[in-house]
């Protein structure tokens, strides 16, 4: 099947088998190896990307279902060599160790902050319940997400990094959520 997908701001047209998982399409065909596969059952969340501005597990979406949609991966977050506030917060709060869960964790954190611009600890923990980390015990991840949210409040930094309803639209996917 022929599909046309916008990934991290670039349009791609490809022929894929219908059974091709979106994550395999990203990794194998587009070389977007920043997004990884950690399980078979959609429990670990390591493969989380955004589809039209909402987090999804790319192991549980077929590539054909992304036809005519926009995908944002961890590789599409940094702009002009500048880290996204969530990436920066993960670094500054030591929210990663081996780093394998990190792309999915960051992508889900973005989604969480879009829904909850000032999340308390419990909201963060519940909002990340679809992402497993085996290294950190989550404490610094929770801290990083709250820290990032703080830096992304309206007026707190560059407009493109703030949370607004509009930034959920696909054309802004990645930059602002």
């Amino acid at each position: 099947m022929r599909i046309t997908v916008n990934v991290d701001g670039v349009g791609y047209t490809d022929d894929v088998e219908p059974r091709t998982l979106l994550v395999h399409y990203l990794r194998e065909r587009l070389g977007k190896t920043g997004t990884v596969v950690g399980c078979d059952t959609s429990n670990c969340g390591a493969c989380t990307v955004h589809l039209d501005g909402h987090s999804v597990k790319s192991c549980s979406v077929f590539a054909v279902q992304a036809d005519r949609h926009e995908v944002t991966t961890i590789e599409g977050l940094a702009r002009d060599g500048k880290l996204h506030p969530v990436q920066r917060a993960f670094h500054e709060n030591h929210a990663l160790q081996c780093g394998f869960c990190t792309p999915g964790m960051i992508m889900q954190s973005l989604d969480l902050i879009a829904d909850h611009p000032d999340p308390d600890e419990e909201t963060v923990r519940k909002g990340l319940e679809g992402n497993l980390c085996r290294c950190t015990g989550y404490q610094n991840i929770v801290k990083a997400v709250r820290d990032a949210a703080h830096h992304m409040r309206p007026g707190a930094g560059p407009e493109a990094e703030q949370v607004t309803e509009e930034t959920r639209s696909p054309s802004h996917a990645g930059g602002g959520e």
Binding site: P18, R19, L21, T41, V56, F62, K126, E129
Partner: protein, 284 residues
């Protein structure tokens, strides 16, 4: 893990979907949100020849006000249900149970209709649908028909849906002004319910005027706790009467035994959690 090969069809109308399913026969699977089906395909626990993807059927998404009921499109995602103000105002129990489904990513893709059609006894949406007397609106080769939730769920992962049926809408009678609670018991946040209780009550002048209670994972299908409902109606909304009613929660259930809970423990949980669900609803 990698799914086996299949032919992919993405119809643009319900009729086309039914036709595609009919042509494919027993070997077809309907793909709604895919959040259960795709893992199953990856594990090769199922290997259909044809997958019929409903995601182009935009008429199956959204929540409409239909007088005494809400009409919820089968392809409405959990995320949309959670945020819908009609659901919030008139089907609070459904909104609360949907909050407990899987995790945020899955709720972005998974659909209300898909969860009902999947009919996992541990799934969180069949019991509220049953409690709220929802009606499934189904389109098949013979046309459109309506099946009440009480008749829809047949067995483990089995409903009245024929292989070439498409669940298109769910009619949910409004419970405006009722209070509700979904009490879920599981071992880790993303796990399925060991037991859960869906409860909605209408309290009038301190008396429980009406009550709806249904149980998740207390048998092959969701179970309506009729005994509890009967015991509640007309009683004062007090701890004593609630607990007395909750003691009947396991009546008529057929709980399974597995690694998380045996039948005895499940029955016990059903009673405890029913008391808690009703108490929380009354206090809500």
């Amino acid at each position: 893990m990698i799914p086996a090969e299949f032919e992919y069809v993405a119809p643009t109308s319900v009729e086309e979907a039914v036709r595609a399913l009919t042509e494919a026969g027993e070997d077809a699977k309907v793909l709604a949100g895919g959040q259960s089906l795709i893992p199953v395909l990856r594990m090769r626990l199922a290997a259909p020849n044809v997958v019929v993807d409903l995601s182009n059927l935009s008429e199956l998404t959204g929540v409409r006000d239909d007088g005494d009921s809400l009409l919820i499109g089968a392809m409405t995602t959990h995320y949309e249900v959670q945020r819908d103000h009609l659901v919030h105002d008139h089907a609070r129990l459904l909104a609360l149970a949907t909050d407990e489904v899987a995790d945020p990513q899955v709720r972005h893709r998974g659909t209300f209709g898909g969860a009902l059609a999947h009919a996992d006894p541990a799934g969180d949406l069949p019991a509220p649908a049953l409690a709220m007397d929802a009606t499934m609106i189904i389109v098949g080769p013979g046309g459109r028909r309506e099946v009440p939730a009480a008749e829809f769920f047949v067995d483990y992962f089995t409903t009245v849906l024929e292989p070439n049926d498409v669940l298109v809408d769910i009619r949910v009678p409004k419970l405006t002004g009722w209070s509700a609670h979904y009490e879920k018991f599981n071992r880790v946040a993303q796990a399925w319910s060991i037991v859960a209780v869906a409860a909605a009550v209408r309290v009038s002048d301190g008396t429980i005027a009406e009550a709806r209670v249904a149980l998740t994972n207390m048998g092959p299908t969701p179970v309506r706790a009729h005994g509890v409902e009967e015991a509640l109606v007309g009683q004062p909304a007090t701890a004593e009467s609630i607990n007395a009613a909750a003691a009947r929660a396991a009546e008529g259930t057929n709980p399974t035994t597995d690694g998380n809970a045996d039948a005895e423990f499940r029955s016990h949980l059903a009673r405890v959690l029913t008391g808690r669900a009703i108490t929380a609803a009354v206090g809500a």
